[in-house]
Amino acid sequence: MAELLHLSPEEATAVGLSLRVAFWAMTTSLIPGILLALALARGRFWGKSLLDGLVHLPLVMPPVVTGYVLLLLLGRKGPLGRFLDEHFGIVFAFRWTGAALACAVMGFPLMVRAIRLSIEAVDRRLEDAAATLGAAPVWVFLVITLPLALPGVIAGMILSFARSMGEFGATITFVSNIPGETQTLPSLIYTLTQVPGGDAGALRLTLISIAISMLALLVAEFLARRLARILPGT
């Protein structure tokens, strides 16, 4: 495939790394995303607005600031980073796991928003009906609410994936730009634009980036339409 597209090994690595990082960012944020969306949609507790604000913070802060905060907390010398390293051997600095974390954080607000809206749209009477028939709250959630909110969950996942594919500022600030580990597609494009003679490569990668994003959006659209046909009331 790489030869077909005339990609150099460096470029192929960056594309593969981007897909891998985006995939893991999306899947690791899924469960926390669903839980937080549920809490924000249905919950009534002190500090709810604060939590809502916190979740949306990466959306409005400059990405470099988010990356810098991650660096301060989870860098090699950061309080959390040192703790995780000493007790669990987990290191984020200069690793693809750090890139995935940065992408997950940046895509999280988009995922939570999409899922929350979907949960809020679920008819509560269906949930009540299930409860009167004897279902426990957790079961109601898993069997009634979540399937009905699935279009929003899918949308949230795709948004998180697409955001992760395009994430640059937080990644480069937090885990630098290391080929094979943290040099994702946007980082490599940036590097190539800084080096005389790199324009051809930058252009190639730009086109690939656009193609992947388009593909993700088309898949999301297709899935949403399939689900609309299967699920009642949507």
């Binding site: 860098g75 090699r76 010398k77 600095a93 200069f94 630098s176 730009n177 290391i178 080929p179 094979g180 590097t191 634009t193 800084q194 080096v195 005389p196």
Partner: protein, 265 residues
């Protein structure tokens, strides 16, 4: 809203704020005379050149503005016709690159400064390494990475790659690098303790108290580190030759030498 007031306060306030914001969009172009000199300089020159420019402004009354970045980045910008007057590169290659494309005035080109390449570590590091053929750099790194400016394009990285190559240590660390955008970003990585070792210029190491020099690379392991200066071909600023003369004069020498550069003029 108060009765009898023809225009509500809130609307007036909005109009005021809008006009203030709009005024920012007005282009307040400075007069052509006394136009600032635009200098593109290698990142490692930051502290020294800032001081020289300040002295120049005091003595000659000419204002300057300097953009510091990796020489490769600056060369790329000049290739795209960036409106600069002077270019100071950290290696001869990038100056040659521009000369080949007729982007500098070749008669104004001169070698201004020289520097040394050093291996640094955070100031509290317990590491002790003697730089020599096949020295145990990979072992010293442990599970950390060697901070270096991008070895493909940035001069500091290229010198570092050449030096490690001459000493037979490049292949052992080639996959253990933390490439940075320029030499100052490399310095920051070591300064912050994110990388256990790094390769920067001696002048950079001297400027940061949070790092210490583990060793200096022998000069025969890499091409001589020379900073050429030249006037950019599209420059029309009349003050440019005066600035060039000042930079090569005994007035600028003590400032450069104080920061650790070798003055070549």
């Amino acid at each position: 809203m108060a009765r009898g007031v023809p225009f509500p306060i809130s609307r007036r306030l909005f109009a005021c704020v809008f006009l203030i914001l709009l005024s920012g969009a007005w282009d307040n172009a400075a007069p052509a005379q006394d136009a600032k000199l635009v200098i593109f300089a290698a990142a490692s020159l930051k502290d020294a050149l800032d001081e020289v420019n300040a002295a120049y402004q005091r003595e000659k009354g000419q204002a300057t503005t300097t953009s510091y970045a990796a020489s490769s980045t600056l060369a790329k910008q000049l290739e795209a016709a960036a409106p600069a007057d002077i270019f100071i590169s950290a290696d001869l290659d990038w100056m040659d690159y521009l000369a080949k494309r007729n982007l500098i005035k070749p008669e104004t080109r001169a070698n201004l400064l020289a520097n040394r390449l050093v291996l640094i570590a955070p100031v509290n590091s317990p590491l002790n390494l003697a730089i020599g053929p096949n020295f145990p750099l990979a072992q010293a790194l442990g599970n950390g990475r060697l901070a270096i400016a991008d070895p493909n394009a940035v001069p500091a990285g290229r010198y570092g790659k050449a030096a490690l190559g001459s000493l037979g240590a490049w292949s052992t660390v080639a996959d253990r690098l933390a490439p940075a955008e320029n030499v100052r970003a490399t310095l920051a990585l070591v300064s912050r303790g994110e990388a256990p070792l790094g390769i920067v210029y001696q002048t950079d190491a001297d400027s940061d108290k949070a790092v210490k020099i583990i060793g200096t690379f022998p000069e025969n392991t890499h091409p001589p580190i020379i900073y050429p200066i030249a006037v950019v071909a599209i420059s029309t600023n009349p003050a440019v030759m005066g600035y060039l003369t000042y930079l090569k004069s005994p007035a600028a020498r003590p400032i450069f030498e104080k920061h650790g550069f070798t003055f070549l003029q």
